[in-house]
Symmetry: C2
Subunit: 404 residues, 2 copies
């Protein structure tokens, strides 16, 4: 039997570690022969564009380097499968590729939308009585998947956000005049990543002094009141804000991607301008931008190790005969932090979102409770031994020509 | 004899290392008693706001932690001394503080403007026959000081920019559609930091495919032509651009976008919009913002060690009877990279700027020559053993109340 693996959705620091997990485990299993990588997610399967990973990942050093490489080494896509009862033409193409390549199991590393693909594809195969297993390996820096305690990729993003926020705190503290610094963090609907910056409170930092997440309604008046209150207490006020907080109409540019997600930008800048106009103090905004999802040089070892492990477990799951499942983490102990890897039906995860629990957010809606920090802290622990070349972190890359 | 040290100008990752250099060397010198830190640069001297550093930096561990802490632990200022022939009132206040505290040497860690202070203050003391030495310790991520081979702080910023640029390259490579990514780097007049991203070419990366620096005039037409040419060769085109390039009139002063928002930070977003309008491809802009000057978690060990050494040498210089001098690096050998620390008159450095040499920039003006990489590469070598607490880099901080 051969297998195929693909990566989908937005980049994270941990997607390649999950690929390594699948690859390593597959190497160990005598019943698995070729390990194909699908180029650009499910699109590679649709267009029969696969690469033989055993010819590309040659050594243990390659695997370690790949674990430390951000983004998706096989490329990604934002392709959403149609309903097969309405149009099964693309399903037939997928099946054709998989059968031609004698692929008995397909592993899809991705977020919400990819788990929709896992769900639909496994249902289609069941209906067609085709024995090809389809297993989902979760990933997203947004941490907004249901069932699982957290998602691979989130811990590294949270570590970057908190570490960078602390450096911004130092940077903001230099001048004697009062200032406001607004840090915009990714998260369209769920505030997990923004909330994770509150771990600094466990390290004795008073910042972030204000944290706004999309789970609470946002009012510019309340925001200004909050900022003024914090300015009375602190010389340099630090605000963390999710890109997805609801602001007055017109701020979001409203471009829509294939999945109907609005293209967002400008919340930080918008609030910066508002503070400048209403308070008139020194104010700046900082967008952490793609750095929060690709700064592998500051990955969480816990995150990367877990991402690899959940990939490995996915292979075992398929070999046990499961299909239409997504691998998930369950936290079985808080101190010491212990997780187990389990499975859930892809239908439970696809097209659902998990939001910050109510009790994570302070009653005033403008910060995160200290009691929530024990959730975040274990996920950002540990560092990799970053492999460097000439002073710069080295990456594993497949030649562009091979992926064409 | 007592001494005083102050930090000035914009934050870098290396200013505190220079402070440690001054402090460590002063501890060794039997003729030095108290080591005062001036709060918020020269303003601390003016207002007699000094702290006793021996009561704040207690152990070798404290010193190592301070070396790894970004920004200025003593605060900063942007104060420029008036001409003492026109108004010497502030000079008298400075002298009053220094004499009251029995300070025989003052060390000012800063950029261009701070070296102007060193120059004026030492001249004033000479004129008044006051025996207080004034020594400048350079710092700036902009690397735009004359005489010195490079400035402390630049190497760490360059390492961050190049490492992050490489991660952005990975992040940009995931989708199958053509894209343009514009990365805006600090540098108002000099393109050193933007140019340093070209070190990726020495590591086998084709990116950045285009690099624009303020040393060359910028034309939007030529830019569009360049981008189209690179898009013909590469799926994901990466552009590095200095914040200070000259763009068509009106952009910096506040052109208004579709939603009535002014372009605040401008250049990156402006070029993003221009590419979207003229080429219509997927395009985004990324501002490296303050992260490029405060990401101590990715400091260059070479930079931090040199910053400490140049601080130490400053103390020796003052004890040798010098004043009105700025410490500088001279590169005496390329392979292996070897520098010596020398002095120059503050008048040679104050109020001057050093630009990229002509032969660093390609004839087409849109990239950096490979022959220039040997200048940049030694400066970004090595990493510190970052001290962590709970998964986040730890910082040295003086309580806000002490600095008040």
């Amino acid at each position: 039997m051969n297998i195929a693996v693909a990566q989908s959705g937005g980049p994270t620091c941990a997607i390649n570690a999950s690929l390594v997990g699948v690859f390593k485990e597959a190497l160990k299993e005598p019943q698995i022969d070729a390990i194909f990588g699908s180029v650009n997610g499910i699109e590679g399967i649709i267009h029969n564009h696969l690469v033989d990973l055993k010819t590309l990942i040659l050594t243990n050093d390659d695997m370690e380097l790949l674990r430390q490489t951000p983004s998706t080494v096989l490329g990604s896509c934002r392709y959403k499968l149609p309903d097969y009862s309405e149009d099964d033409s693309v399903y037939k193409k997928i099946l054709e590729t998989l059968e031609q390549r004698q692929i008995g199991a397909f592993f899809y590393i991705g977020g919400n939308d990819s788990m929709d693909t896992v769900n639909k594809l496994s249902e289609y195969f069941r209906q067609e009585s085709v024995d090809i297993k389809v297993i989902g390996i979760p990933k997203t820096i947004d941490n907004d998947l249901c069932i699982t305690d957290h998602t691979p990729g989130f811990g590294s993003a949270a570590k970057y956000v908190a570490a960078t926020m602390r450096e911004i705190v130092r940077d903001s503290s230099v001048y004697s005049i009062p200032s406001v610094t607004i840090v915009e963090v990714m998260g369209r609907h769920a505030g997990w990543l923004t909330a994770s910056s509150a771990v600094l409170h466990a390290l004795g930092e008073t910042a972030p002094h204000l944290i706004y997440v999309p789970e609470r309604s946002f009012s510019l008046d309340a925001f200004m009141r909050d900022v003024r209150q914090e300015m009375a207490k602190h010389k340099a006020v630090i605000v963390a804000v999710s890109e997805g907080i609801e602001v007055p109409e017109g701020v979001q540019s409203g471009v829509v991607d294939n999945f109907g997600h609005k293209y967002l930008s400008g919340i930080g800048k918008y609030l910066e301008e508002a503070v400048r106009k209403e308070i008139g103090c020194k104010v700046r905004s900082i967008e952490l931008n793609v750095m929060q999802r690709c700064s592998s040089h500051l990955s969480s070892k816990t995150d990367i190790d877990e991402a690899e492990a959940i990939g490995s477990e996915g292979v075992k799951c398929a070999l046990n005969g499961d299909t239409g499942k997504v691998m998930v983490f369950r936290r079985v102990n808080e101190m010491p932090y212990t997780i187990v890897i389990e499975t859930t039906s892809a239908a439970n995860i696809a097209n659902n979102e998990k939001f910050l629990p109510d009790d994570f957010i302070t009653p005033s809606g403008n910060n995160i409770c200290d009691s929530a920090l024990s959730y975040f802290l274990p996920l950002i622990q540990g560092e990799l031994n970053t492999i460097m070349e000439q002073g710069i972190p080295k990456h594993f890359a497949i030649q562009e020509s091979v992926l064409k």
